[in-house]
Symmetry: C2
Subunit: 495 residues, 2 copies
């Protein structure tokens, strides 16, 4: 059937989509989501069909094409061409198999990831894949194959090192910036730690956002390698490694229901470790009602899987369950967190002790995993002697930042609002989700200086009028919105 | 945030969609699929957010709206208004609950169906719902609640009858037009049978398509009631009862993976029976590799559920498992099937015996279910005496068709092609799926005269050159396509 192109002026950022009027679709016996093959001159593309029910979108005899298809075929508005029946990608059958409780082979997982990366699967099909993994699970073998497949399609960092140390903290706890303290301690101890971190998705800051206050974090792999060879370490944004392509598409579809199928969660984390050739990995799973793990039992079961998957991938993995019931540190938001980190590294009296002690505990564990002795003492000495701070300055310098940066010169939001206790008593809860929401609405992570500063934590006693937190924002409007959120929800509970 | 409307010139036919540029989405901390609330003058709407990554689709400061939203708010291109953060519909939480294996209450199912009907759920969310029901199942209680909810949102036919007979045949067997023979037999026996049927989705003809060759089938409920009151029966398209709205949306999303979650399948069928107040229902489940039920075990397990759900809804349900390994009757496609039906009713020697005998068997079972005696003999007498044919003429007349229609005057496709045996032997298989595909490509069901006529069935012996089937088409081009399909696949196997 010969059809005339209508440029729909829309990009999906993913799946290739073509729209036919329903009368044409009926003539060709095509249904919603069927595949059609389009050839134009020497180019061809396979697209997912959508059906227009009114003539307004696409008239009979026309084919509406989204930007991706126009680009791929190099066709223009009003060009005409033939369309052919396309075949369903093989991975659709594999997704059905998983929905029916089957086990996916290495080749089947490979095909699904390739089809996702090549935009051959529609959002509905990817949703079925995520549901299938969520409800039927991935066994260790499948998880390993998914991990390897993700590594396969990304860049990798090859270092000439026998031991490469790494860490991961799962999300949900604002302010949990241990990485920026652990990395310099570990590197100063003589170990190699090429750390890739993420940016915030739904939190006020990811480690990459906070580190970016001090130095560039979007380094290409070659530059990253130079930094690590010089300093034993780096703290960069993992997105530059392109590991995320398939992962990102799946995360977008997991978002509406906030689903975290275990096999995907494990693969997504382990692939990042595998990509930098890590040999020793410490995983921190904060447990608490607003983190990913509501109960110790849940976290323990994931712990086992982490260790098993790690072993199969040739990594020594240790997992700690930590207290995730309230934020760690005082500052929330990129600039405020970066300031806290520098306070800890400079042994400033304003350093939040919870952040310092958690980082020391984790650094010691990581050193111990590689066979070091007296790790607790060594880690503390490295930090308190200023060696970790010196190392951090080296890292900042090599990544292209200013090593002389002073924590008190870091710019924080000029519009502030102090929240005070409305009654005397003991603080019994600080809600991670509300704190994160307030910081985000105030502008974090996009506005680096936005966020909030916690003056008090759980267990602290307060008088009526004692400052509980200060909100920082770069705009008066956003500060107003943040205050409104606090009016609706009680972030800090006193009893 | 104040935004300017861009008319996207697209209708989704479903979910309300609004597109923001990613910079605006970030400012408001909005993600793909989040909800926003839009108010314009005195109207408001809640829409699902999509994010444009390029400026081509939607520029910063603009909001791209699909037709449904423009209509609902009565806004035009270049209007400006404020948007607000919307809330996730409550049903999203219920869908998550089902994915986690929970049981849905009556109220939760009600909310999901309402949100689907009101276009409050996105395709991704409905996909999660279908996956959840597919992988975690619906128990009898949930199935009954889904059934009742569907009936609730459709029209119903209220007859003043103690006994209302009905039947259902599940799909996958071309030519299986028993309804058009059973209904006049049952009605001639004095029982009431207000039959609603479907149109083809992926088959060459649904009963509604075939009946439409003889009489109009899109009757409003009031007209349907008049026909039944006059003749004891009708054979109409169920779509007119609007039961299908929620069902149709779900079917669209089930299509890409051809999923048939049992709870949805049952509810969809039983709702149609409940809507006409049926008291006695016979369900025909053809078993065979290209039908919905590959094995007897599968069909038997569904049989139990049918009977249980029926009992709870106050219906007496009986289920028969029939042979679904090849087409029933000779004609495939609306006109060719209608001709077969009239041959049977007129006791024409050209009547396909398999279609006649299956219809008699089912009609007898249905009469027996209501307590009648000697049903086999009575059914046969009604048919062979011509009483069933007289009844059919009454029904045709009351629905607005021509009761004097002669089977040999029914127009079939003028372009034909006869397929002959390439060798001598016995026919060992007639593939339902290939036969259906050939008939559809030839033009059925849209071209009523298109389809094919089977001269032979499984078990028949043939010489080289014996006619196996004749393809009928209303266009030379389509006939050519149909021949090409047959070149690729062997529809009839001889050994």
């Amino acid at each position: 059937m010969k059809l005339k192109v209508k440029d729909m002026d829309i990009a999906t950022g993913g799946t290739l989509i073509a729209i036919l009027h329903q009368s044409d679709a009926q003539k060709l016996d095509l249904h919603h989501e069927d595949r059609i093959k389009i050839r134009f001159r020497n180019k061809s593309a396979s697209a997912v069909m959508d059906i227009a029910e009114t003539k307004k979108a696409v008239k009979p005899g026309c084919i509406g094409l989204f930007e991706e298809v126009l680009d791929k075929l190099n066709v223009k508005h009003d060009n005409t061409f033939e369309i052919y029946l396309g075949e369903e990608p093989r991975s659709v059958g594999y997704i059905r198999k998983k929905l029916d409780g089957g086990r996916l082979s290495k080749e089947e997982i490979e095909q699904i990831i390739k089809d996702i990366l090549n935009n051959n699967l529609s959002a509905i099909e990817i949703t079925y894949f995520i549901s299938a993994v969520y409800t039927k699970g991935f066994d260790i073998e499948e998880t390993i194959n998914l991990t390897k497949e993700m590594v396969e399609h990304g860049e990798t960092l090859k270092l000439d090192k026998r031991v490469v140390v790494d860490k991961h903290s799962s999300g949900g706890v604002p302010g949990n910036r241990t990485t920026m303290i652990i990395v310099p301690i570990i590197a100063a101890a003589g170990l190699t730690i090429p750390k890739t971190s993420s940016r915030a998705i739904s939190s006020p800051a990811g480690t990459a956002d906070t580190m970016e206050v001090l130095a560039p974090v979007s380094l290409p792999v070659s530059k990253m390698k130079r930094v690590v060879n010089k300093t034993n370490a780096c703290i960069v944004w993992g997105g530059a490694m392109n590991l995320a392509a398939a992962d990102d598409k799946m995360i977008k579809i997991r978002h509406p229901l906030s689903l975290d199928p275990r096999g995907m969660l494990l693969a997504s984390i382990m692939a990042k470790k595998q990509a930098v050739n890590s040999t020793h990995v410490l995983v921190d799973l904060p447990v608490g009602k607003s983190t990913k793990f509501k109960t110790i039992t849940e976290a323990k079961s994931l712990k086992k899987d982490f260790i098993r998957v790690g072993r199969r991938l040739g990594m020594k993995v240790d997992v700690i369950l930590t207290d995730g019931k309230q934020p760690i540190g005082n500052g929330i938001g990129p600039a405020l967190e970066a300031r806290d980190v520098l306070y800890v590294l400079r042994n400033d009296p304003r350093a939040p002790q919870d952040l310092k002690e958690k980082s020391l505990m984790m650094a010691a564990k990581m050193m111990q995993m590689t066979g070091h002795k007296n790790c607790k003492e060594r880690a503390r000495t490295i930090l308190e002697s200023g060696k970790a701070y010196e190392k951090m300055k080296e890292i900042i310098k090599e990544q292209g930042g200013n090593p002389k940066i002073n924590p008190d010169s870091i710019k924080v939001g000029e519009f502030t609002y102090m929240v005070k206790a409305e009654k005397a008593g003991k603080i019994i809860s600080v809600d991670n989700k509300i704190i994160a929401k307030v910081a985000r609405v105030a502008g974090a992570p996009r506005d680096r200086g936005a966020g909030l500063y916690l003056h008090k934590h759980i267990g602290d006693c307060v008088e009526k009028g004692t400052p509980l937190m200060t909100i920082y924002s770069e705009s008066e409007q956003k500060l107003k919105y943040a205050k409104e959120v606090l009016k609706m929800f009680d972030g800090i509970e006193i009893n």
